[in-house]
């Protein structure tokens, strides 16, 4: 089926005029109408606007103009990236009616590349969560098993790609929010190096950790999208002016002599042993392909969860102070302005967001700052040093992306700490600011699992090389969830 193909395959179809951009866009819109009533990946579908943009691309094709590789490719954006004139809700009651007056830099860059925006996809409210259960609007279902979560916080983005509701999507990753849903849904997800992709227009959660990244069906597609969105942006003062390579140059099917480190802490306590076995089988594949693999240690790994949750919530409590019912967003009326602030925030934020604002405010409050926030920042240094040391010996590090396959709805949502602990394999990477990619690496109990490669800062190229080689020598990425049964039947009702 056309909509199941990769970005590079779709590009070929467009160039050869085997399909028009309008036809392609229509096919995705139809797919959304069919499966999304059940999967609930989308919060907003921008059908009319998409068709207008698609016709423009078709006019270009008719004139035999050179077609950019992303031109006419239908895609989705997580609903925390600003889109001028299109509601950007952060899956929160607070921003239920927020229409951004400007585009995020990634929105502008994808527009300039000629992509077609299909709509905005679901997420945990303000990107706080690991299951997309914290959305104010809807519970997104995992297409591999409708009783399971898609992961989070970019759950809608992962489902849209996995269920062929978009050719690719952008998510954001503060502590694993691109990689973990990619793993749970069997797609490719990259968290780029901090500073590689502009955060301008990304509604902030934790500013020193947030980074936008692509979710795609293949490693090649991922490199194509990163080519379009990465690079210095003066509008983001944490954007880094680095020498941006053509990431597709790294897509070689060869890892002979590549040094891969296996941090033992990522295979120990708390990691489902079936997942660990699946990843170890993948490691054997890489050894057979010529990689030099050995064990290593990142000794401060266990401290990453508390350090992360103190830093992320402290930054969030500061970032979310702007939602006060004055300039934009929801408001509950009250007698005086202080009462209006308190009631607005009480009514506009969901439970997890309030919990994190409380924790972060406490960690920053007078008398506790040194004990919690400053301490966490010092531990962050130790975690970063662990990685620096490991990268003296290794080109990349490898681990499971998540400790378990996708879990069931409600399984972890009753106890926040249990949910936080499920992020152990992803948060250290954000603390260190390095890039990491998750790729499909097998199945446990019928659910996809992801293999995570971590790289040196600004060395996404090597991640793509090893991920591409693994992909070219395995079949996992070609398998798709079967939606022919109940979803299609219920969706078309």
């Amino acid at each position: 089926m056309m909509i199941g193909q990769s970005v590079s395959e779709l590009h070929e179809l467009l160039v050869r005029k085997e399909v028009s951009s309008v036809e392609l866009t229509k096919a995705y819109i139809e797919r959304i109408h069919t499966v999304d009533p059940e999967l609930k990946a989308y919060l907003t579908v921008t059908e009319d606007q998409a068709m207008v943009h698609a016709s423009k691309v078709d006019r270009k094709i008719a004139q035999n103009d050179v077609l950019g590789v992303l031109e006419g490719i239908p895609m989705a954006l997580k609903d925390n990236m600003c889109t001028e004139g299109v509601r950007t809700s952060c899956a929160s009651k607070m921003l239920e009616n927020f229409i951004p007056p400007y585009n995020a830099t990634v929105t502008d860059r994808l527009k300039a590349a000629g992509t077609i925006l299909l709509g905005k996809v679901n997420m945990d409210e303000f990107a706080m969560g690991s299951s997309t259960e914290n959305s104010y609007f809807a519970k997104t279902r995992n297409p591999w098993d409708l009783q399971r979560v898609p992961g989070g916080s970019s759950g809608g983005a992962a489902v849209a790609v996995a269920a062929d509701e978009a050719a690719f999507a952008l998510g954001s990753d503060t502590g694993g929010s691109v990689r973990q849903p990619a793993a749970f849904c069997g797609v490719v997800g990259l968290k780029p190096t901090y500073g590689a992709v502009s955060r301008y227009g990304l509604i902030a959660f934790a500013s020193s950790l947030d980074q936008i990244g692509p979710l795609t069906k293949t490693v090649r597609d991922n490199a194509l999208v990163l080519n379009a969105i990465a690079g210095y942006d003066p509008m983001d003062s944490t954007s880094v002016a680095y020498e941006k390579p053509d990431y597709t140059k790294f897509l070689v099917n060869d890892i002979k002599g590549l040094k891969i480190g296996i941090p033992s802490e990522y295979f120990g306590e708390g990691i489902d042993q079936d997942v660990a076995r699946g990843i170890r089988a993948g490691i054997q594949t890489l050894i057979d392909l010529g990689a030099e693999v050995s064990e290593c240690s990142l000794p401060h790994t266990e401290y990453a969860i508390p350090a992360y949750y103190l830093i992320a919530t402290a930054e969030a409590s500061s970032n979310l102070a702007r939602y006060d019912g004055v300039r934009y967003g929801y408001r509950t009326e009250a007698e005086d302005v202080l009462g209006m602030f308190k009631k607005t925030r009480a009514d506009g934020f969901g439970q997890e967001v309030k919990r994190r604002i409380m924790l972060g405010t406490y960690a920053l409050s007078s008398g506790y700052y040194d004990a919690y926030y400053l301490k966490a920042q010092k531990v962050r240094t130790l975690i970063k040093q662990d990685f620096d040391k490991a990268f003296e010996k290794f080109d990349v590090l490898l681990s499971p992306t998540a400790p378990t396959p996708a879990f069931k709805f409600g399984e972890k949502s009753s106890d926040p700490l249990t949910m936080y602990l499920s992020d152990i394999t992803t948060v250290p990477i954000n603390l260190a600011g390095i890039p990491a990619i998750s790729i499909p690496a097998g199945f446990v109990g019928g659910m996809p699992i992801g293999m995570q490669f971590m790289g040196k800062a600004f060395d996404e190229g090597t991640l793509y090389r090893v991920a591409y080689t693994f992909e070219q020598n395995t079949q996992y990425h070609t398998l798709k969830p079967s939606l022919s049964g109940e979803v299609l039947a219920r969706g078309s009702r």
């Binding site: 508390p306 309030k354 240094t381 800062a457």
Partner: protein, 96 residues
């Protein structure tokens, strides 16, 4: 107990959050559980460790002070819950 009920009420006031009784009880219990877990950080000697605020060190990012296009008045106010004559409008500022 690391954090008391009174602490939770104090922090909620700092964060401008009006909490219900059940929320105060729930957050007291949950914040204690999370902070007790975070206490493991105390095991690490960090006296000589420099804190990391940003993974990529950037300092004093400046630009030329030039006028550039910005969002106009109308657009800046379009999402405001209440406004009047080109201003954001809020309830009275309490002096109590």
């Amino acid at each position: 107990m690391t954090i008391s009920r009174e602490d939770v009420e104090y922090v909620a006031a700092l964060a401008r959050l009006e909490l219900t009784e059940p929320e105060i009880n729930e957050y007291t219990e949950q914040l204690n559980s999370i902070l007790n877990y975070a206490a493991m950080l105390e095991r690490l000697d960090t006296d000589d460790v420099v804190p990391t605020a940003h993974a990529v060190p950037l300092h004093n990012v400046l630009r030329e002070d030039q006028v550039r296009p910005s969002i106009n008045h109308e657009k800046a106010l379009q999402n405001a819950p209440d406004g009047e004559e080109g201003f954001f409008k809020v309830p009275r500022i309490s002096l109590t």
